[in-house]
Symmetry: C2
Subunit: 462 residues, 2 copies
């Protein structure tokens, strides 16, 4: 094909392959979404440098070829999946860790470095890169472009809070290098936050300066049983000041989720389910005083028990016991084995104090349509983030039917239809429930200013 030959002439025959030469299949799906047949790629590019990314984009812009940037393809919403013929730009050859600055607590990386490598490199330098989520072979550039979240957002923030500098290439080939390494930098508009979370529609992220944190010297973990969601909010307000900024996870699980999680464990649960338990909380704190942190954590829990906020609690006495407690929370990975599969997952947010009531309404709305459906509720409630997993079976609706019901309800509550997974293609029809016409118009005007021809990751987000 002509475009492939011309691109090879510009960027090298190793960098651009035609769809017949490349391992095309693996570029046609993410964790949830598969490309349609009609989306056979024009070419697949594997640039090894920012300069190559720039040359390829400039060519495509001049020749009206759409481009879909791709990271580790671990996304949930199809943001990196092609839906029409396009050049796919995989960042997998840009996998160099360029520098670690221990004094400044930063790491400079190319976008194709995996999250796993970033975590391990930080650890080897006696520091912590706190972003943690299921898909650790995600590219760090993909984590940036989707503003990834996960379990420790409460303490360390979202991916955008872990980025100091960004380099990205616009569709016309312009390299925007904002590789800032300082926490404070007020020199004009913060372009970094435009590229972070825009899912590859405004530019292709090529390099990042990441912010590192000190490695924790102690970790304390507890599983608690409480009577109701409102008690979980009370517990959060009890522990936040007393753990003085050390609280690193506060994961809430409704009983059905807990039963599924402990059943998947295939051994005796750390805490027997009791009928009076209305909610479970998995809590984690990371501190700096190995000698005294465990004692303080236990005394904070003791007080919560005395005050009747918590019905019962188990504190992990070893790293193994902590892992066992976490394995209940991590059970979504075991949903197929637990018979809760196929499932439809929701990732929404609502202010923390309202999640209990909102979850009840979700149940009522779903039950009104599908009385026998089975749903599991869990979430990072300190961040306002609720997950709902509905088993797809003869008792449920179709994905589309249930999406409509749930996202409309999120709209009524002025919540967010995507807390951490992004919009991609999957949630695009529901974006209007969370953003006003004026906001959407402004997003479109920014998109037009940065990609006038609309060639970069078209059909995603807006």
């Amino acid at each position: 094909m002509n475009a492939v030959a011309e691109l090879q002439a510009i960027a090298g025959a190793k960098t651009v392959l035609g769809p017949d030469e490349a391992f095309t299949e693996r570029h046609l799906r993410d964790f949830n979404i598969v490309a349609p047949e009609s989306a056979r790629p024009v070419a697949i590019a594997y640039p090894a440098s920012t300069e190559e990314v720039s040359k390829i984009l400039a060519y495509c812009n001049a020749h009206d070829i759409t481009v879909v940037p791709q990271g580790g393809l671990t996304g949930m919403c199809g943001g990196a999946v092609p839906f029409r013929p396009a050049l796919l730009m995989s960042m997998e050859r840009m996998r160099t860790v360029e520098a670690v600055d221990a004094d400044g607590a930063t790491m400079t990386v190319q976008a194709g470095v995996t999250l796993d490598t970033v975590q391990k490199t930080a650890d080897a330098n006696n520091m912590l890169f706190p972003l943690d989520l299921g898909g650790r072979h995600a590219h760090i550039g993909g984590n940036a472009s989707t503003n990834a979240g996960g379990n420790r957002v409460l303490r360390y923030g979202m991916m955008r809070d872990l980025i100091l500098g960004v380099e990205a290439v616009l569709m016309d080939g312009t390299v925007i290098s904002s590789m800032n390494r300082m926490i404070k930098n007020n020199t004009g508009y913060d372009l970094k936050h435009l590229f972070v979370g825009s899912e590859g529609t405004l530019g292709v992220i090529t390099r990042l300066v990441l912010r590192l944190h000190p490695k924790p010297l102690s970790v304390s973990t507890a599983l608690c049983a409480l009577d109701s969601y409102d008690s979980a909010v009370k517990l959060l307000r009890h522990v936040k000041p007393r753990l003085g900024g050390q609280l690193s996870a506060f994961e809430v699980m409704w009983p059905e989720f807990y039963y599924t999680g402990t059943a998947a464990l295939n051994r005796r649960p750390p805490m027997e389910p009791k009928p009076e338990t209305g909610i479970y909380v998995l809590m984690e704190a990371m501190g700096g005083d190995p000698e005294r942190d465990a004692e303080h954590f236990a005394s904070v829990m003791e007080l919560a028990l005395e005050q009747g906020i918590v019905l019962d609690a188990v504190i992990a006495q070893s790293a193994k016991e902590a892992r066992d407690l976490w394995s209940i929370r991590d059970c979504p990975g075991e949903f197929p084995a637990a018979g809760h599969f196929p499932q439809l997952g929701f990732d929404v947010s609502i202010p923390t104090g309202q999640i209990g009531e909102f979850a009840k309404q979700v149940h009522e709305r779903l039950a009104a349509h599908w009385p026998k459906h089975k749903a599991l509720y869990f979430g990072h409630i300190a961040d306002g983030n609720l997950h709902v997993s509905i088993r797809l079976d003869e008792n449920s609706g179709t994905e589309h039917e249930m999406d409509e019901v749930l996202y409309a309800l999120v709209g009524e509550w002025k919540g967010s239809v995507s807390a951490e997974h992004g919009i991609g293609v999957h949630k695009r029809p529901y974006l209007h429930y969370s953003r006003s016409p004026a906001e959407l118009a402004l997003m479109r005007s920014i998109k037009s200013a940065m990609d006038p021809k609309g060639l970069l990751n078209p059909g995603k987000v807006i």
Copy 2:
């Protein structure tokens, strides 16, 4: 004047005043910069609602009247000072605290609420709004539009990290309401970060959702003497992990600054200056365990003394002693009394590990031009932020001459010409030292997309 009458007809005679009716003088300067004679305002608007802001902007946009939004006028760079005839839009009547959500840890406010009121309202609700800086009669909307910093950024982040939601009005009157109240919200482009830090050039911020933190239950404060800047970096790396996320200030003072600060105190300094001391550090930690935090803090300091990182240290034994230690760091407020006045202040950033060497080069460059100049060095070094204060006298150059020398050096070091004060008009000529032509072009293209006629706060930032 016609425009005044028409604006009064639209927005009310109380909301729009002609320059003869209003207290015009106080609208013509900020902390550092005074408006030129030629900048006599067209009118002064005091809107009390978002709707009034919208009507006034739409009128001005249709009639090609430039608009300068104003908060508490405590800025340092002239961002809110008019430089040509314009409508001045003061937010001082928009001073309602609309809601405090204790469970979600948020406060919803109008833009004209002062920082002081926000801090006190949080405190009255047993929470902390951690932004802290000298000008507490700053408007919170001004803090947002300049992305204010201060002493506790190390622990709690910049102003942008303390904002969950923003409502702003574009120059054409469009209201962009992104009043998100959740920590996680990945629904399209993050418009909030466009308005934050753009100094009123992209929209007028009218309302905010602020993020609150738990009130600390313990505060520990120490003043340390060290041999050199490099030891201060060692101390930072020593305390960060051991204080497990509780470190809330790490303020570095070079000896001349310390002498000036202690002289201004007018009493015996907490630590006698010694010739072997090359640097002073004021450290603060905020924790959750009043019984044990002081002991742990002391043991961390003890270890630093044993390991020779620190030469000497004083730990405050009471809130009064802590205030006394802080008063040395806060001595820039006493510069006039200390004879260090008039002065030229610099606010720049450089990666933490390089600040010692950079400060030496600043001194050499300045000394090469003005051998007898007097400069004081201090900074929030954990954020990479260095302040330099040069006395303006017969031994110094002019402001412009010294700006040229210092900002060119910042450019050579790839640092930031504004760490926390912003660009305004004052630093606009030096922005190119920190941002590339491609970055500046992209900023201009965003400005054009959002304010096509260039009527909103013209001549500021870009």
